[in-house]
Structures are given as C-alpha cells and as structure tokens.
Symmetry: C2
Subunit: 434 residues, 2 copies
C-alpha cells in the first residue's frame, strides 16, 4: 500500500470530472481518512483530443477499456460512463480482474444490481453505488448502516430533481406544466427529451434500488407501478394547496408483513410532512423504521460535485477496506423472497376531481356509489361551474383509506356514470391528514 | 465467533431498555447483517429488585460494574447510564479490558471525547457514539462516511427537542414561553428542571461533538458561545413570522480558512430554509460541504427506541469489525489544530427590536449610528406605540452582514442612547434572505 491506491475511471463527463477534482482538491483530507495517497490513473474516454478543463496528463486518457479494467496498476474502477449494456460488461470485467468498483449508474443498478453484487461477492470485491440514488445524499449508507438495527417499513422519496423543480414552480407561481418544463429545459434542469424524468421512469429506477437495499429483497424495475406528472394541471395544484397539501412526485416502497408495494406517482402530502417542503431540484428520502420512526435525508440529487462526493465517499470505504484487507466480505445477500402486495392489499386515501351534471340527485348518486363500496370521505366539496350548455358542477373529494382494487372499481364506474361528465384527476394521498 | 457476540450494558433506563428490545425483536435481521448471534449478557443496574417490563433473566442483572467491564464473556460494553465521572471511569476500564464500547452519552463525549477516543485507539478498541447527537438520526455516520471525501464548512443543528417543541408551539399558537414550557413539562417533553435544555447547554454539547468530528479538530465545550431561549417573547415570534422567518434555537459550527466559530443561540431562519420547517420535538442537522453543498439529516432526537436504534447500529459496526478483525484501526486523530474565530471574524446579519422616543430626529440618530459603523439595513420598520407618558415608537430592523465586534459595539451604544428607551431583543439571522 506504500504506493497508495490508484483509481481508474470509465468516463470523464460531469460526474467523472467532479471525481478528478475532489480527489485532487481534497487530497490532504483523503490521505488523513484512509492513511495513504489516492491518485487517478487511466481514464477511459471516447475522444482523447476533446478539450477538458482539468489537471490531467494526456497520457492518462485512453480509448481502450482494457487499459482500465485489465490494468495491474489500478486498484479501484469508478464507472461514471452511464448507459447499461457496455457499463455492465466493463464492470463485470473489472470485478473478474479483482478490481473493486464504485458506480453512479442508476439504470444499471436498477436492472442488474443483484447480478453485479453477486459477481462482486464471488470475486471478493467491493461494489458500491451510493451515487446512484439521490446524488450527494448519503441515503444508502444511512439505511444500510445508520439504521442497520432497525426494520424499515416505508421509504418515500423525492428522487427526481427535474420533476420536483417543475412541480415546485407550478405550485409557487400557478404556471402550467408545459410552460415550466420549457423553462426547466432552458435552465438545464430538464433534458431536451424529458421522458425518463417526467414519466417517472428515472424515479422508478431509484425506488427499485432503495427497496432492494432497505427491504433486503430482490425487486425488479417492472415491479414498480409508474405514473408521471405530465397530466397535472394548475387547477389540481391549486385545489391541493387550498386543502393543505402539496402535490409531489413520490417514489414509494412500503412493506407490511413481508409483502411490498412499489410505485412512483404524483401524491398529495400534507404541508406538515417533511417531504412537502422539499423545493426546486432538491431530493429527499423519507425513511420510516419500526424502531427509529420518521427520518429524512435531504440534499442535492444531481450535479457534478455533489454526485462525485458520493462516489469518492464510496471510494474512501473501498480504500479503508483495502488497507484492512476486508473487501467484499460483508456483502449481504437478500434476506427475504420477493412478495408483492396485491391491489387489495395496497391501502391509501385518494384525491379526486370530477365534473358532474348539476341536477337534483347527482350528489346522492355519487355518494351512494362510494357508500356501496364502503368508502367514506375525509373531504367532499361541490360548487357550480360556469357552463352555457347545461348546469354543471365540480366535485373535489378526499376519501378515507381504501384499497386500490376497490378504488379502481369506483373509478371505472364513475367514468361510465351518466351524471359524471368527466373525471378530471385522481391522485393518492399519503402522509396523514392536512 | 461461533458463540456469537455478547454485549454488556451499563444502565437499563429508557435507552438501555430500547437496546434490549431491539436486540431481541430484530435478532433475525441482526444475524443476517453481522453473520452471528448477538445476545445480551450482564446488565449493570442500581436496584436489581425494581420491576422491569423486559424479557431478561434476573441473574443477568448485577450491581457490580466488574461483572460487566471485567467479564471475559462480554465483547462489547454499551454505556447508557448517563452522567459523567462514573461513566468515564467505567468506559476507560472497559477499554483497558479490550472491550469495545458504544455510548449514547453526550455530556461525556462533549467533555472527554478526545481522551476516550485516544484510550480506545491505544487499546485497539472501537468507541462509537452515534446516539450522543440527535438520537436516532445517523448524522455522525453520514458526515464521517457519507461525506468522507468532502470538506465540511458549516453545520447548523436543531439538536434539542425540548426547545424546538417550545418554540414551535410559541410560533404556531402565539402562546408565551412560560405557558408552553409548563405544557411541555406536563407532556414529558421538558424536564422538571429544564435549565440544561432551555439555556442551550445540551445543544452546546452536541455542537461540540459535531464540530470535533466534522472539522477534525479538538474543540472544548467552553469554546461554544451559548445563549438560551428563556427571554424570547411572543412579540419576537410574531415579528419574525411576519418578516418571513422562523426563530429557532440553532447550534452552529462554521469554518472559514481553518478558523472556526461555535455557538448555540436563537436565530432567525427564512421559511424556505430546510431547518425552518423542522417542527415540534424533531431534530435535524444541516451540513454544508464544499463539494456536496446543502444536505440535511432529519429525525427523532430522543426517545427510547430511536436512540437505541443508533446504539445498536453502532453495535452492528463493532460486530462487523470483530468478525473482520479490524476493530480500533481506523480511528482518525484530529487533522487540524483548533483555531477559534475572533469576534471580528464572525460575520452575520442581525434582527433587532427597540423602543424609542417618538420625536423628530430619532430615526436619523439611529441610522447615523449604524452608518458610522458601516452597517446597512436589509429591513427597517418603525411605527408608533400606544403610551400615555410620552410618545413612543417601536423599531424593528434586520441588518446586512456585519461582524460580531461591530454589532456588539452598536448594541452597547444603543443601550446608552438617550432616544432609545429599551433594546427589547436581538438575534442573529442565518440562512439567507426571507
């Protein structure tokens, strides 16, 4: 270990550059923490001639992956190239060459996390991935170690900065979705193709990773029921606000008696809920443990240096393990088999907004439908709407707790009811009463 | 390790009982995490005959400390007895007998942390103390490991649940300090002698522990400038609220170019600040790192099971280290010498409320005093007060950034000014503009 630890990078984009900067600028602290020098060796890039504003020698750059994953001088490989298939292949090669791996790749970990962790264990290597969820927030470590002795029953995360930025602006300024999305794209908070963010897919990957770790279980990405934010209107936002709720895109993983639910969808949270005040592009993960109760981890979900902080913190753990000779020894295999909740087991409250014919008996017909299914109301408001053709009214309601199967039955019946002109919107309500 | 790991407890009060419960109820998860059985051996108590609602054998209880700290069957000693001198002595004995130690004792760690960590290192033992700050929130671990690669420049904590409960109720319900304190005492949120909490001493201990860890420096409890909440009035609360701020008891540790400031005092935080929405008895620690930016750790600051969760999570780390044979090897000694900021180096904004004679020139006299010291205003409001004897006005102001030396000079001059009848209150303002 006298020569110190040498890391190789796969990729030198936003996060990779941040890693190079931190390793250089915080060298003194790093050495103090791990007791030896940590330096950057070879870096895999696509184009060696591209100008980079970093203090690296040209001969550190390579276009051959072998120079990193087969390089005997390299102890730890940091994968920050993104993508799935190639990254997976390179990481497996690195592990098979007994290199420890740190990755920031959420797509990869959501799809192949179990496989890669098992390859790491077989090869006596560490594989850490803190940066794959909620960027700079040390939430995986917080759960795996800080709450090690607890039994986690629920995780709720604002784990996508783009959508939280959009919803925050919609809520604060009363602007509509398209308008804020355009602004977010101009400011660089949203991609030119925002699909993965606004449709909830990105958040789904993170919730799958969180669930695997927090519930000690192998869930798949397809187990996550996903719904995005593209149909949220300014009216929805305004009603939620008036009722004392914030509408947020929430990734939720909950466990009851060994059976789990995984979903990403817009949810109403009361203003008093810790997640409700998470603004703009910030991320936060709310964790409920049987013993500890409510905890929350808050911070930047993306960005070069924040994400690189998480990567280098994983690196610190790897280097400590290296010095102690204990890498790859404590990877815990899943304790539980995957068991998903059925729709009947998924309990929650719902917010619904409807437009109905404003005529005698409408209200009764509506409430009778809910009563038939044994669903009662926490809030129920109706008022007339301006309309030239026929008298119309708007109804906004929040149900008491019911299960998804029953709610969806009611929803379908409402859509087919003669007195109901339009079911405008419907969202889950979590986190208690406003 | 076949026989598993046996822990001994010093104390069986609120936290100790929680530890016994968690070790029993979460045994399956614990075994899965550490790969061996973890059981409770001897427990030091004051009175063996006291009735306890716990599943323990009577012969586990002892009144002799030797049965725990000299017991060859015990691997890890958990100190949850509280107090300073005796706890210190017992922990040193345990460490000298090569027992690893987990403590929840903030008083002890604030006063003798450096000494105890050094005894632990000499004896090749682990000494962990996550539960000593912010109960169930894994903030020490989050900083030491999750932000391991970063350079922390500021920590701000709501680290005392009693005072946060009192201030929350004062803010929400417009009730006065004495009234809420009485209620908090009835509900068990405040001690019958609340001095350590309401005068900020408890928070000072925690901020000293946080600073030692976060800044890698040995600070002393007496380096913390402390001011409590006992003089906060409902008027102060109301003005702060109207100006867009929350008044919170904040423990602050900040570092600029190697020089640190440590203080506990009521501070105004803009409503948008993550700490401003921490309500009731909850705790939160806001950490600013050069690379990661803003992060926050939120959760329960006290309570039997939350605090015990932190203790048992430390225990999990000790047991993992035991199995790997790496205890006591990575205790980092302080990297930096202590250098405290002078009053001239402590920069911040201030809120002030004054009662003045309502006569021509008063306003000018006041503003001239601030101008002379080069301090400008972010907000400045004046309005007449009902008063029979002479015309009076109230002035509320928020300064722009200045240093503590200058501000205190102004404060003293104001107190001696003829036009100033009363300096009603004065608080620091942190966390940006409302």
């Amino acid at each position: 270990m006298e020569r110190g630890v040498v890391i190789g990078l796969l990729g030198l984009g936003t996060v990779g550059s941040g890693v190079v900067q931190i390793v250089k600028n915080h060298q003194q602290e790093l050495q103090h923490k791990v007791g030896c020098q940590v330096s950057v060796g070879k870096i895999l890039v696509r184009d060696k001639s591209k100008h980079r504003d970093l203090d690296i020698d040209e001969d550190q750059l390579t276009v051959e992956v072998e120079d990193v994953v087969h390089n005997p001088d390299i102890d730890v490989v940091i994968e920050v190239m993104g993508g799935v298939n190639q990254a997976r292949e390179y990481i497996i090669q690195a592990l098979q060459n007994k290199k420890h791996v740190v990755t920031a790749n959420k797509d990869l970990m959501a799809l192949y996390g179990a496989e890669l962790l098992s390859v790491a264990a077989e090869n006596g290597c560490d594989l850490f991935y803190e940066a794959s969820v909620a960027g700079g927030i040390p939430v995986l470590r917080g759960m795996a170690e800080g709450l090690a002795s607890d039994r986690i029953t629920q995780m709720m995360g604002i784990v996508n900065g783009t959508t939280n930025y959009i919803l925050t602006k919609m809520e604060q300024d009363g602007r509509d979705y398209e308008d804020v999305l355009r602004e977010a794209q101009e400011l660089g908070f949203a991609e030119s193709d925002p699909t993965a963010d606004v449709e909830g897919l990105d958040a789904a990957r993170k919730i799958a990773i969180l669930a695997n770790l927090g519930f000690s279980m192998n869930v798949e990405l397809e187990d996550v029921l996903v719904r995005g934010i593209t149909t949220i209107t300014t009216e929805d936002m305004e009603y939620c606000k008036q009722l004392g709720y914030s509408l947020k895109l929430i990734g939720l993983a909950s466990r009851t008696e060994g059976r789990v639910e995984l979903t990403v969808q817009p949810m109403l949270l009361p203003h008093s809920h810790p997640l409700a005040s998470v603004q703009d592009e910030y991320n936060a993960v709310y964790v409920y443990g049987e013993a500890v109760g409510e905890t929350m981890f808050y911070g930047p979900g993306a960005g070069s240096l924040p994400t690189a902080t998480a990567v280098v913190s994983d690196l610190v753990t790897v280097v400590k393990n290296l010095r102690l000779g204990v890498n790859g020894q404590m990877t815990a295999r899943p304790l539980y088999d995957k068991q998903l909740k059925t729709d009947k087991e998924v309990e929650s409250k719902y917010f619904m907004r409807l437009q109905v014919r404003d005529e005698t008996g409408t209200f009764d017909t509506l409430t009778a439908l809910f009563a038939k299914e044994d669903v009662s109301f926490e809030r129920l408001l109706q008022w007339p709407l301006e309309n030239e053709k026929e008298p119309m009214a708007e109804v906004v309601l929040i149900t008491h707790e019911t299960n998804r199967a029953v709610y969806e039955k009611i929803y379908r019946e409402l859509e087919n009811m003669d007195v109901v002109l339009n079911v405008k919107s419907s969202y889950r309500v979590e986190g208690g009463q406003a």
